[in-house]
């Protein structure tokens, strides 16, 4: 990679970090078991059991749940982990 490309990429990253936050959304999927999704939320997001269950139920009943908001790089890492557990998760930029 050229030096210009590296600088551009770094600056882009810096700008993104200052931008509005990114959301991690988990989408409903009739296959993944409720108990499995709860366990994944506890592990990946560090939620206590009650909070993990609440988000799991929100996914189940409303079709999606916002499980994390913050910097883009961390959001990407969370989505990657959730995909590793075969959950349907996406990264969405906050409107605000």
């Amino acid at each position: 990679m050229s030096e210009t490309a590296t600088i551009t990429k770094t600056r882009t990253r810096e700008r993104m970090a200052l931008d509005s936050p990114w959301h991690v959304i988990v989408h409903n999927d009739p296959v993944n078991l409720m108990s499995y999704v709860t366990m994944v939320f506890q592990r990946v997001l560090g939620f206590p059991r009650d909070q993990a269950t609440r988000h799991m139920l929100e996914v189940h009943h409303k079709g999606r749940s916002l499980v994390w908001s913050g910097e883009r790089e961390r959001a990407e890492a969370i989505v990657e982990q959730l995909h590793g557990y075969l959950l349907l998760a996406t990264l969405e930029k906050s409107e605000s």
Partner: protein, 159 residues
């Protein structure tokens, strides 16, 4: 079939009916049929319509890592399953606690693939009547439910 703790490091699936022993043996092969269900196993990280270059990076960088993770889980499960064939009665199987995550992952791969291949709907998955085992679709539905039951047992044991 039940899951009993053998020691601090291993559990044993006991009283496995020969029909279910057969379904267990098929797990790694079923879970490896990624080609047709690629979109479900490797989902898009962005909402539809987004033009973010992340989508391309994801294919190039994340998908290979996920492939490796999924293949690793299947290999661990295959190794655990090997004694099942050697066991003449085929009624029990030891599963190390350390391998539970690999099992949960491989079971999930297989269930997602079976649902995708057979276009099972939420209604199909929730029907209470036993599946028609004279059809391939019925056998596939039985596998989906059996693998889910095994996931529940493992989750219960690890909680």
């Amino acid at each position: 079939m039940r899951l009993r703790r053998l020691s601090s490091t291993a559990w044993e699936l006991q009283d496995i009916h020969p029909l279910f022993a057969g379904l267990l043996a098929e797990l790694p092969r079923t879970a490896s049929r990624h080609k047709k269900s690629h979109a479900r196993l490797y989902p898009d990280p962005l909402p539809r319509g987004s033009r973010d270059p992340l989508r391309r990076d994801w294919r190039e960088l994340v998908h290979p890592e996920l492939q490796q993770l999924f293949a690793g889980s299947r290999e661990i499960v295959q190794r655990d399953l090997d004694p099942l064939g050697a066991n003449s009665q085929g009624t029990s199987l030891s599963i190390p606690t350390a391998n539970f995550d690999a099992w949960l992952n491989a079971l999930n791969q297989a269930r997602l693939i079976l649902v995708d291949e057979n276009h099972f709907t939420e209604q199909d998955l929730e029907q209470r009547e036993p599946p028609d085992l004279a059809t391939r679709r019925g056998v596939a539905l039985l596998k989906v439910h059996f693998y889910a039951h095994l996931q529940e047992l493992l989750l219960e044991a690890s909680s």
